[in-house]
């Protein structure tokens, strides 16, 4: 953990050093630092996800639901990374479009589950 914290602070200092002369290179340092920090967390994230899947198996939850939740988390995460990078570069409107794209994709991914839920609810209600 201290390695991640220290690396983050050092990269922020380097990005700040180059910001005035070469703002584009400074943005590249920011992106590279974000990518390196996340890749160093990949093992821990994989462990968490395998434990979640194990619990879902144990309690007989259908695997498509847990897959949907994980995919939605992945889409949200990738969009957040890209949108924050655009905001750091001063492109707020592009960031907003990226976030809109993520929202639309997540709703599209969860449409089958939503229709199944509504069908079940309609069957249960006395018409």
């Amino acid at each position: 953990m201290t390695a991640i914290a220290a690396a983050g602070v050092v990269c922020a200092a380097l990005a700040l050093l180059l910001r005035r002369e070469h703002p584009a290179v400074s943005m590249c340092i920011t992106i590279a630092a974000g990518a390196a920090l996340l890749m160093s967390l990949a093992d821990s994230i994989l462990q968490i996800i395998s434990v979640m899947r194990g619990l879902a198996e144990k309690y007989d939850m259908r695997s498509e639901y847990i897959n949907l939740v994980l995919k939605a988390t992945g889409v949200a995460y990738a969009a957040e990374f890209a949108a924050q990078t655009c905001r750091d570069a001063g492109e707020g409107s592009i960031a907003a479009k990226i976030e809109l794209g993520a929202r639309v994709l997540i709703v599209c991914m969860s449409l089958p589950v939503l229709t199944a839920l509504l069908d079940t609810a309609m069957k249960v209600l006395p018409s």
Partner: protein
């Protein structure tokens, strides 16, 4: 954690700044601009590599 890449990018940036200043002071403005552009392209190539690695990891971990 491949933090060496970040230090390499910072080193390229600092080197490009220094060369830029030297070339501008000695009057070769167009060479200064080309050096800046070359440095930027090198840095972008390094970063694109890392980003593609990151996104393929995200796809692998979340099963997209």
């Amino acid at each position: 954690m491949n933090i060496d890449v970040i230090f390499q990018i910072a080193a390229v940036g600092i080197l490009v700044s220094v060369l830029n200043q030297v070339l501008t002071r000695s009057g070769r403005e167009e060479m200064a601009m080309m050096t800046t552009l070359a440095g930027l392209i090198i840095v972008l190539l390094m970063v694109i590599d890392m980003i593609s690695g990151l996104f393929s990891q995200v796809k692998a971990v979340f099963g997209l």
